[in-house]
């Protein structure tokens, strides 16, 4: 929005770039959702690159001197060679790189693909899909000698900091406006220590409106699936036996899902003291049960239908294991 006359201003104004990788565009929406706050921020900065909303080109970025961009906010996981190049370019041009949103921070939903083999992904989509007619078994072709080639698809979906050096993190799927605004202002005023997550370092229960309804000594016999139970809109989900990841997920979203009467799924990721989000959640959930003999334990645990998908919903790229590989030696 440099074309805005109000923003013809001295060079000193910090330059901001926004870019997206393997993402859904929700993070872009989140920025747009800043509403008036966006305008406030726009008074403080120049946006020099923002494909979704403005006519600035990759070539423009390439022309910029290295380090000339003050802050680049990058959302989305890194999935293809093309994205990799783009973020490397932005790293060169930027003083500060911020991983924006769950995908950039931890891989996000797309990182669930790390539970599968790349070729399986392609097979399902192009050969096995019931609505696809593909008798010649054509697959997108990265060689492309007869046709233009499609870009290279990585085996592993990566968080931003697994590809380039990343300075800060803004969590959330997507990051709520309050967090975004606060984060951007913090970065402009007094940048915290490198590597900081620009959100409170404490779990969601702390700001959950339902926490008072949770008894001190909650022990569960089983877990229930939310769609099979009438949900009390006032009561703590775990108290109702419904898995809620809020216990092990960073706060900052103001418990939006809870207010929508659905449990937390963990998009803000873990707090600082946690190495592996899923492992920690797993530990907590196993602890909430009380069974002792093997059979009872199996029965109780079977009420968690998809532990991996539930505990690592957004965090697979940053899990210690990161990616499914077939067992045994490579």
């Amino acid at each position: 929005m440099t074309a805005n006359p109000k923003t013809e201003q001295p060079k000193t104004k910090p330059k901001i770039a926004l870019y997206w990788c393997a993402s859904c565009g929700g993070c872009e929406e989140a920025v747009v959702d800043l509403g008036e706050d966006l305008l406030t921020i726009l008074d403080l900065v120049d946006i020099v690159f923002w494909p979704v909303a403005m006519d600035f080109k990759r070539s423009d970025v390439e022309k910029m001197p290295d380090g000339s961009i003050t802050v680049s906010l990058i959302n989305g996981a890194v999935r293809t060679s093309e994205q990799k190049e783009m973020v490397e370019l932005l790293r060169r041009k930027s003083q500060v790189i911020v991983a924006f949103g769950a995908c950039a921070c931890m891989g996000g939903i797309p990182a669930l693909a790390n539970l599968y083999d790349k070729n399986q992904l392609l097979k399902t989509a192009y050969l096995e899909s019931p609505s696809t007619s593909n008798t010649e078994k054509v697959l997108p072709d990265v060689k492309g000698n007869k046709h233009p080639p499609v870009p290279h698809l990585h085996e592993v979906v990566r968080a931003l900091d697994q590809v380039i050096d990343t300075d800060y993190y803004i969590p959330g799927c997507p990051p709520p406006p309050s967090i975004v605004k606060q984060a951007v202002l913090t970065l402009l005023k007094s940048p915290p220590e490198k590597g900081s997550v620009l959100a409170p370092d404490i779990a969601l229960c702390e700001e959950c409106p339902r926490i008072e309804t949770k008894p001190d000594d909650l022990v569960l016999e089983r877990f229930d699936r939310v769609h099979l139970k009438q949900v009390d809109p006032e009561k703590c989900f775990l108290t109702q036996g419904i898995p809620c990841m809020g216990i092990g997920t960073r706060k900052g979203c103001e418990a939006l899902c809870i207010k929508g009467n659905m449990p937390c799924t963990g998009c803000f990721g873990p707090t600082n003291n946690v190495f592996d989000h899923g492992a920690k959640l797993l530990s907590a959930f196993a602890s909430m049960l009380s069974q002792q003999d093997e059979e009872a334990v199996d029965r109780a645990l079977s009420t968690i239908p998809d532990p991996t998908g539930s505990f690592y919903r957004y965090g697979l790229s940053k899990s210690l294991l990161r990616k499914r590989v077939r067992g045994g030696a490579t």
Binding site: A286, L301, L320, K323
Partner: protein
């Protein structure tokens, strides 16, 4: 499995200080022999075992993880071993989704006096892991990371 013979599995063991750890200690005092493949991390109680440790061990290059706790009903802290059991069973399912074989993680109840059981368990766990071959998680990840160096198609 490939190179089963010439491969020495690396096992990270998490032992409860009240039972299995003492068993290992006593086995030593009794000069009992078992394969040197295990490296023991002493915990107060198997209930203290954080799945992060298990995963970290595998991710950092262990071929298997052995957890030793007190027999049901004998936990020094009354219920820690049951918690360990629940965690272990849930964790196994998750590791399975990552392609890590069932047989690479094992929970055994070994009381302080069961030095022979300890020896037996360690011995055949090592055998089992030789069958499965190296896990080499780091190797696999760095193999994947090589794609970061490839040029764009």
């Amino acid at each position: 499995m490939t190179n089963a013979k010439d491969f020495e599995p690396k096992i990270v063991a998490f032992f409860c200080s009240w039972c299995t750890y003492i068993a290992a200690d006593t086995a030593g005092v009794g000069r009992k022999k078992y394969p040197p493949n295990i490296r023991v991390v002493k915990l107060m109680c198997s209930g203290q075992l954080d799945p992060q440790y298990v995963i970290a061990a595998l991710a950092n290059g262990a071929d298997g993880v052995l957890i030793g706790g007190c027999h049901p009903g004998t936990c020094h802290y009354s219920k820690g071993n049951y918690k360990a059991l629940r965690m272990y069973k849930l964790l196994k399912r998750v590791l399975g989704d990552f392609g890590i074989e069932e047989g690479r993680i094992r929970l055994e109840w070994i009381s302080a006096s069961e030095t022979n059981k300890l020896v037996k368990v360690v011995t055949d766990f090592v055998g089992q892991l030789k069958e499965l071959g190296p896990l080499n998680w780091l190797g696999k990840l760095s193999f994947f990371d090589s794609e970061l160096k490839e040029a764009t198609a």
